[in-house]
């Protein structure tokens, strides 16, 4: 047995693009059951944007009820009697709304956008491979996420309505139908998330194998673009965290269906066990939702500032440190659970330490922008918003990490404000930045910069008007999932603020239509995209837009890191990673495969 033979599949398995041979895949293989990572990335984009719309619509209904409690919702008459008789939302339906808003946004919008879309779009192109390591597994990953999403969506129309125990599904509320009034919906919630878990797992196996084994010659670990670093660490988090959720969801499903009592106290079960398992998954999940956003923002900020990223090794180290610390902080979601103060304090300490790597990242983003030749293109605007909003969300996170403060603000609107600052202000702005940045590469058309800037301005202003007052609502004592705050006298004075928030929430929702219109319009009418519209460095920008099936015509070689902007003495302010030095004379890239074998001839 020789190692060389076993490595051979790496070399031979890649099918590079062949310009002399037309792409003759039939329609169904090309656009529907495609194994091409670019198509799968596009599919993930459309699926997640659809669920983003669904989640957004649910949020609009929530805000209607909180802004004008008990008033008939305009257009609410179309909803059936079991949800909103006469357009007035029922309390049971409101519970489903908050639960499904959280579930859709986290599992079916943000996570597939960041991991499914960016992961598929970028990984093979950025590391210089023809496709993922396991293209068919990749296709299965997408085609199992779709049924999972529709099972979740279908739970609205089953008897009893959709899951209503919050996106965290704490038992016994989630396990006993008599408590929440939902039976089938809650079971479908578990089933859907288990299927989605399989989908994420297949993706993670693919990403890790591709990044470890399929990097082109010269693409050393420290030359990888930061989105790839963050997606690599994210894939590890998914790989190790999702099975815990799947195991817990299976046990919850058994409690709901066959009558076990894992989480039900009457026969010795432990409700807290669910919280431990859920948050042992849940806290890494939080970083699954922010790390790829950080990577995308780094890429865009370096490009928009025309400067190398400040402190690349520290950026990589911070990603690894955040991911590692993310495993030992889950208890900070459970300070109210009667935890031993000794354990609580250690969770508080480990949580606050996460501020250090996060601050390193923010400092380095600022260092990158500092004295740069800043280009305020649409992706850059969104990436800058990401940095600012992430700082606000991160700072409110430090408040909540402190046990005594958390005991006061736990499960209030302060939490809602915090998580939306991190997930909407953080992840979603980075997603916008990434879509504006890479859309031209994958669809061959530019998104309209005018509409993009209008969308950004409206979103940024309305977003802050919606979520900043929520801090005050929370400090005023308004509970997180309350149907009608006015049932408590002490919350009545907050009603004008709630109405204010709701007005701008509706405006925020409407202004997202600009984004969706921009995408649909630009798909057919947008300006044709050149190869490298942003004058950026990584490997995909030397290819046609969109890149052909098989990406590169032969294995590319990598000669430098991804952030060589404004290199002294060069005419242009960017330097493609795959461009040979000295204007064409081919040198062996350093750090490649065994000597004499890695050199592209």
């Amino acid at each position: 047995m020789s190692t060389t033979q076993l490595l051979a599949p790496n070399v031979t398995a890649q099918h590079w693009a062949d310009p002399s041979h037309p792409d003759d895949r039939p329609f169904i293989r090309r656009y529907i059951f495609s194994t091409d990572h670019k198509t799968i990335g596009n599919q993930f984009m459309f699926m997640s944007l659809f669920f983003l719309l669904v989640g957004g619509a649910l949020a609009m209904m929530i805000r209607w009820q909180l802004g004008w409690p008990g008033q008939p919702m305009p257009g609410g008459g179309v909803l059936p009697e079991t949800m909103a008789p006469g357009g007035i939302l029922l309390p049971e339906f409101y519970n489903s709304l908050v639960t499904m808003h959280g579930t859709f946004m986290i599992f079916f919008a943000i996570m597939p956008l960041l991991v499914g879309m960016f992961g598929n779009w970028l990984i093979p192109l950025h590391v210089g491979a023809s496709d993922m390591a396991f293209p068919r597994l990749n296709m299965m990953s997408f085609w199992s996420a779709v049924p999972a999403g529709f099972i979740m969506l279908a739970s609205f129309v089953v008897e009893g309505g959709a899951a209503g125990a919050g996106w965290t599904a704490y038992p016994p509320l989630s396990a006993v139908p008599e408590y929440s009034g939902v039976s089938t919906g809650q079971q479908l919630w578990c089933v859907s998330l288990i299927i989605l878990g399989f989908s994420s797992l297949m993706g993670a196996v693919n990403y890790i194998t591709t990044i470890v084994n399929m990097r082109a010659p010269g693409m050393t670990w420290m030359r990888m673009p930061l989105p790839i670093w963050s997606l690599f660490i994210t894939a590890i988090l998914i790989l190790l965290a999702i099975p815990i959720l799947a195991g817990a969801a299976i046990m919850l499903l058994f409690d709901q269906t066959i009558g076990t009592t894992f989480f039900l106290p009457e026969a010795g079960g432990q409700p807290l066990l669910w919280q431990h398992l859920f948050w042992y998954f849940g806290h890494p999940e939080v970083y699954i939702l922010i790390l790829p956003a950080m990577g995308v923002a780094s890429e865009v900020i370096a490009n928009g500032s025309r400067k190398p990223i400040f402190g690349y090794p520290a950026m990589v180290g911070a990603i690894v440190a955040i991911a590692f610390l993310g495993w030992i902080v889950w208890g900070h979601h459970m300070f109210q659970s009667g935890m031993n103060p000794l354990l609580g304090s250690s969770f508080m300490l480990s949580t606050m330490i996460i501020a250090v790597p996060s601050a390193i990242k923010v400092f380095n983003w600022l260092g990158t922008i500092w004295r740069g030749d800043i280009h305020f293109h649409t992706p850059m605007l969104n990436a800058l918003a990401f940095v600012g909003m992430f700082v606000i969300g991160g700072l409110s996170g430090v408040f909540m990490a402190s046990t005594p403060v958390d005991i006061y603000i736990h499960d209030t609107y302060f939490i809602v404000a915090h998580l939306h600052y991190v997930l909407f202000g953080g992840s979603l702005f980075a997603i916008f930045a990434g879509i504006y940045f890479w859309f031209p590469k994958f669809f061959g058309r530019m998104l309209s910069p005018t509409l993009g800037k209008i969308h950004f301005a409206l979103t940024f202003v309305f977003y802050n008007l919606v979520f900043f007052p929520m801090h005050n609502l929370g400090l005023g004592g308004m509970m997180r999932r309350i149907y009608d705050p006015n049932q408590y006298g002490f919350l009545e004075p907050l009603q004008p603020m709630n109405t204010f928030v709701s007005v701008f929430a509706l405006a925020l929702g409407v202004s997202q239509l600009v984004f969706f219109f921009n995408i649909l319009w630009s798909l057919w009418r947008g300006e044709k995209a050149p190869e490298n519209p942003w004058r950026s460095n990584s490997l995909e920008w030397s290819l046609a837009s969109p890149p052909p099936h098989g990406n590169f015509e032969a294995m590319p070689a990598v000669y430098r890191g991804p952030y060589e902007y404004s290199y002294p003495g060069r005419g242009e302010d960017f330097w493609l990673q795959g461009e040979p030095p000295d204007g064409g004379a081919v040198h062996a890239p350093t750090g490649g495969a065994p000597v004499g074998e890695g050199v592209p001839q």
């Binding site: 047995m1 020789s2 190692t3 190790l240 815990i244 807290l272 066990l273 431990h276 398992l277 042992y280 495993w327 030992i328 208890g331 935890m339 031993n340 000794l342 354990l343």
Partner: protein
């Protein structure tokens, strides 16, 4: 990787002996519960290690793969210990 192949039957015999030892200790030794748990878990981990090292060839793989393979173990141990600590406190 022109390695020396392990004698698979010998490993099998080894596993068999350890299994018999486990059942024997569990039912015949009469040791206190805590000691029994410790011995049984040690034997189980010993057997698991044998399977991983010889049948799954981990002993003959590049060190980088070994590191990957062992990576989740601290996390698995962590959740068990903390969950138990919660209960004991």
């Amino acid at each position: 990787m022109a390695n020396k192949k392990p004698n698979y039957y010998l490993v099998w015999l080894y596993l068999l002996v350890l299994t018999i030892a486990e059942v024997g200790v569990a039912f015949l030794s009469g040791l206190p519960f805590e000691v029994l748990v410790f011995i049984l878990l040690s034997l189980a981990i010993w057997k698991a290690a044998l399977v991983a090292m010889y049948y799954m060839h981990l002993r003959f793989e590049p060190p980088r793969l070994v590191i990957i393979a062992l990576a989740p173990l601290p996390l698995a141990v962590l959740i068990t210990i903390v969950v138990v600590t919660m209960e004991v406190f």
